[in-house]
């Protein structure tokens, strides 16, 4: 069975581009704090979602709606409404992280398929099976901290489908629990849907030397000609004593394209591409690349060599935790 390519779409145009480029499935979110890519100019209103789902279905693709932030006490109705609207728009599944919201969806929208977001950070078989048994979760998006053997071990102990990230921005933290952005800006990916919100980011170019500031703190300085990273604290570059280095991780993107055969053997159902904040151009190039790869695998042909480095943060790529070669 062909591995499913799950692609990002931040706008209706990006969704159409993903469908045309061969995406089996597209994930997207509403234009509010219910999804973890709540950036200016991005996401879908209800009408756009309904029309986009219809477009995808017409072309044989599925749409998953990410409602993967954690509801704020007293405002749960915003998240409940999002689940109801995803169902009425015809979504094939919702991607949820919060246990309370999963419980709500299971009780009030039992026919709406539920996936567990990477934001829930379910990183072992017991946790995966707990979400399946308790809330009827059919698929779990695994966090980007597991090696291929660890993923195989999880799949050996569960009937739940697993989905893993294969390309894009590399979150190196326990997702859904990272507070770095909150410390610097007061806003977080988990509650507000924004890691390093643009409203708190400033760039200053001094004769080719680019300073990136988050919440008033300089977190990275790119010398003239150096590639620039996203302005996230986890990939910030700091000086302590006489040493200047990246604190947690170099500014690189994940690219596990050449690991697809191993991921298939490990029992993975779906391959996820990160980047709802990216353009139609990115979506088209990455989706085509990965669709060619899974089709080649299915037909027993060698995997094509990708040309995706330019699209990567810092213009550099890593296989991340899948091969555990970090310092």
């Amino acid at each position: 069975m062909v591995m499913e390519i799950v692609c990002p779409a931040g706008t209706p145009a990006a969704l159409r581009a993903a469908v045309k480029a061969g995406a089996h499935t597209i994930y997207c979110g509403f234009a509010d704090e219910t999804n973890a890519r709540n950036f200016p100019g991005l996401n879908f209103d209800r009408t756009e979602m309904r029309e986009s789902v219809a477009f995808a279905h017409h072309h044989g693709s599925k749409v998953l709606v990410a409602i993967n932030t954690f509801p704020r006490a007293g405002d749960e109705a915003i998240w409940h409404r999002a689940v109801a609207d995803a169902e009425s728009c015809g979504a094939d599944a919702v991607i949820l992280a919060d246990a309370g919201l999963l419980d709500y969806a299971a009780r009030h929208h039992p026919n709406l398929r539920r996936h567990l977001s990477v934001q829930a950070a379910a990183a072992n078989a017991d946790m995966v099976n707990y979400y399946a048994d308790t809330f009827g979760v059919k698929r779990v998006v695994l966090p980007r901290v597991l090696s291929v053997p660890e993923i195989a071990a999880i799949n050996a102990e569960t009937e739940v489908e697993t989905e893993v990230f294969v390309f894009g921005g590399l979150c190196v933290m326990a997702e859904g629990r990272c507070s770095l952005s909150s410390y610097a800006t007061g806003r977080s990916p988990n509650m507000n849907g924004v890691c390093s919100p643009a409203s708190h980011v400033e760039y200053h170019d001094h004769n080719g030397v680019l300073d990136a500031q988050l919440g008033g703190y300089t977190i990275h300085r790119a010398q003239k000609g150096d590639a620039a990273p996203y302005p996230t604290l986890c990939k910030g570059c700091f000086t302590a004593g006489e040493k200047t280095d990246y604190l947690f991780e170099d500014p690189v993107s994940l690219n596990a394209e050449q690991l697809i055969p191993q991921l298939q053997k490990a029992g993975v159902t779906a391959l996820k591409i990160e980047g709802r904040q990216r353009s139609r151009s990115y979506v088209t190039q990455v989706v085509r690349n990965f669709r060619e790869a899974v089709d080649a695998l299915e037909e027993g042909r060698p995997l094509p060599q990708g040309m995706l480095a330019r699209l990567s943060e810092g213009q550099a790529m890593t296989t991340g935790a899948y091969k555990k070669t970090w310092r």
């Binding site: 581009a17 200016p40 151009s281």
Partner: protein, 179 residues
């Protein structure tokens, strides 16, 4: 970890140099009329700008001898060309090819940022909103121009395609074949 780079073409001097002598007022008026036509045919672009639909943007094609001040005007845009530095809430600077590539979906904005081909300064939220709104609008300047030129549409299109091939500037919206 692997790395690679691809360069963005620079506007040929043959196109850029004459702009030093062109009077900017009539060109500004023409571009304003052109942008209002686009605003009429793509109202969703301004809806997607949201809070930034009235924010002044400085668009700086670094290989041209001019700077563009764009006032979205809540759907009634105004474009002013200037040869002097100008203030706006946000500044987006890069080679003309990069800026046109962003408009037509030929380039990815983040990739241009990573490679330092694109520089953004000032209100980052406003810049992001503009980039995302334009990407969703699926604009095609050549198509808009053809709509203006009536019976000359076909030769104008051919001329634009030739110019695109010769200069590397992304003057049309690339159409990807369906999978």
């Amino acid at each position: 970890m692997s790395q690679t780079t691809v360069s963005v073409p620079r506007c040929p001097p043959l196109l850029a140099v004459p702009l030093r002598a062109v009077p900017l007022a009539p060109l500004s008026a023409s571009l304003t009329a052109f942008s209002r036509r686009i605003a009429t045919s793509h109202p969703g672009l301004f809806r997607r700008l949201g809070d930034y639909a009235n924010t002044p943007f400085v668009i700086d094609p670094t290989d041209l001898p001019l700077v563009i001040l764009l006032h979205p005007g809540n759907g009634k845009p105004k474009i002013t060309l200037t040869r002097r530095p100008v203030q706006g809430a946000a500044r987006i600077a890069g080679p003309l090819a990069a800026l046109l590539g962003l408009v037509h979906g030929g380039f990815d904005g983040d990739a241009l940022f990573f490679s330092r081909d694109l520089v953004i300064e000032g209100d980052t939220s406003a810049s992001l909103a503009l980039r995302n709104a334009i990407d969703d609008a699926e604009l095609d300047f050549s198509e808009e121009l053809m709509n203006l030129t009536g019976p000359l549409a076909a030769p104008v299109h051919r001329a634009l395609l030739l110019l695109e091939r010769r200069t590397g500037l992304c003057l049309t919206r690339p159409e990807e074949p369906a999978w």
